[in-house]
Symmetry: C2
């Protein structure tokens, strides 16, 4: 088999660039927006229990987890589908709805998975430019053609931390054609504090062509477990069960995620820390004269105005791992996760030294 | 969005029919070829440890697990790719190599995932008939056309438990055209006792267009964890890292599978039990006058000569869950997993009663 037997679409893909991991103990990782308090303790308990039954296959429909989600969000369980992380939901959406040659509209400089799943299914990514480093819903609307099948939106946006408001979304949704599906990635929605953050479940209830995608990786501290979910009206969700791999969500992910959903104390602690940490970092960044975006998420986008890869390496040498954003198309910017008070302090000390 | 916006290929898919699960405690499940001794204890230990780090993302390349596989099988770690179960490997192979309109050759009456991944990527499944309820490599060869990209083989075969020999495979491989990739599903290979069972790693070493697919679900008792792997020469494996989801294998699967790989005692106990159980069941089935296939796997295919769905329901009422094979295209046959001595005894008692 010569290499040209690989599908041409696959050769267009650049491999995902993850946050770096600590090379030695004691390093502070603020590169992947992971939870500074570890995993939800209730999830750990459930996983430990469930590990004794691992010889048996997982429930193909993740019924208990979907029932728990249904209860929490007040929508029928038929409106939910669970995945091996939110990534899997994105893949299943594309598998089910995106035919070869159809277009996905994607905001420029966003999470690269939207482009990945589009290319894997032979679709054509069409990019809409950001405006002032935030998603520009007008630009997204303008990029829609009669070949558009999927429209990927991220709110709060990764990596800039900005949001679009419920009013802006309302106007946008009126312009979405009937033959397109809006895929609303809300991986960070739990962290949004702005009162104008849209309630997308309203659109699901109203029968819109919109699927909300969420994850247990962030606020529940379960990035390593791989559990995410999609919410849409049941006519949209139901065919997705045909194209997904039957046992896509492990027993541990189903049990751990369901338990985490009820871990209110952990979630509250996480959100309180994030809110306080955000304000601390704003004050420190102001003192350092840094240009940053106010965030509705658990990370802050900082425009350094100089090559970020070099700053990343020097921060690494100081024991702090941040995310240089070249792979997102911002060669002069970094993304720093909001950590624990101690991690935030170390971040600021290292930044002071490196940027001096 | 009207339903006709679902891709036409997806509407062709019938949802996977899994083995039924016990409705009440005390039932014996011999329907999904799960390990009767539970999960590998070393895997449970590793999972319990790893669960404390679940806030962090998994290694995108599953390096430690691939290193462990490399050591065990004496091939470079570049020859290995890990997946969210072997299903995920099948999906990634199709994503990387199968272009819309290209053909997959699949043995009739086999594991339905080959057809599923083929349809999901817009390929065309072409079926080769079995011969005497075993894979017929001549029929498979004859089904190959100049549009064939993937050839799915299962050895030992599911659900009939038969194998093709190394000699038969040798002849077959000479007839595979250069532009096709053989996907050799060896989910049950550890159970094969026949000395003629082929060593497929030989083909990987010799640079053939062949990918071996294996799983931790069966002999390691980890079906609920979702861990599988593919082995091929690195030119075949390497582009698969582009099309897979970055974090497809959870931290728990990576840690648990690596630990299980070293759990020799558990594997030996599992294989010894299977070998003894097989002989016990042969003797009992002979006494009952049942027509069955001698197996190289951890299950036995039994041709009842009458509607199996009804027998399945009556066995269920007796507290024993078996697998009726209608969804595999054998409406008069069942597949029973080889269980523990106690489970096997209950199976035979129930069969005696139901078939009397």
């Amino acid at each position: 088999m010569s290499d040209d037997l690989v599908r041409p679409e696959i050769r267009e893909i650049r491999e995902y660039v993850p946050g770096k991991n600590p090379a030695k103990p004691g390093m502070v990782k603020l590169a992947s927006n992971e939870n500074p308090f570890g995993p939800s303790p209730k999830a750990i308990e459930a996983i430990t229990r469930e590990s004794l039954s691992l010889q048996t296959y997982p429930d193909q429909r993740a019924s208990l987890l979907r029932d728990a989600l249904s209860k929490k969000f007040g929508l029928p369980s038929d409106c939910f589908i669970c995945g091996n992380g939110a990534d899997d939901i994105l893949q299943i959406v594309a598998a089910t709805y995106l035919s070869p040659g159809e277009e996905s509209v994607i905001s420029r400089n966003s999470f690269s998975l939207y482009e990945l799943v589009t290319r894997v299914f032979g679709g054509k990514p069409v990019f809409a430019e950001l405006r002032d480093n935030a998603v520009d819903l007008d630009a997204v609307s303008s990029a829609v053609t009669d070949r558009t099948k999927l429209i990927f939106l991220t709110n709060p946006n990764n990596p800039t931390g900005t949001i679009f408001s419920s009013g802006q979304l309302e106007i946008f949704m009126k312009r979405v054609p009937d033959r397109a599906l809006v895929v609303m990635d809300e991986a960070y929605m739990e962290f949004a504090e702005n009162g104008d953050f849209p309630d997308c479940l309203k659109y699901v209830r109203d029968g819109a062509n919109l699927m909300v995608v969420r994850t247990f990786s962030k606020v529940y501290g379960l990035a390593g477990l791989r559990a995410g979910y999609g919410i849409a009206r049941k006519e949209i969700v139901s065919p997705m069960f045909l194209s997904k791999m039957p046992f896509n969500v492990s027993r541990l992910a189903q049990a751990g995620a369901a338990a985490a959903l009820g871990d209110r104390e952990f979630v509250e602690r996480t959100l309180r820390n994030n809110s306080e940490g955000k304000r601390t970092l704003y004050a420190e960044f102001d003192q350092l004269g840094l240009s940053y975006k106010r965030t509705e998420s658990n990370f802050i986008f900082v425009d350094l105005g100089r090559p970020a890869d070099e700053v990343f390496l020097r921060m690494m040498a100081e024991g702090v791992i941040i995310r240089p954003l070249s792979s997102f198309g911002f060669p002069q910017a970094i993304r720093v996760s909001i950590g624990s008070p101690d991690q935030n302090r170390k971040l600021c000390e290292a930044l002071k030294k490196v940027l001096a």
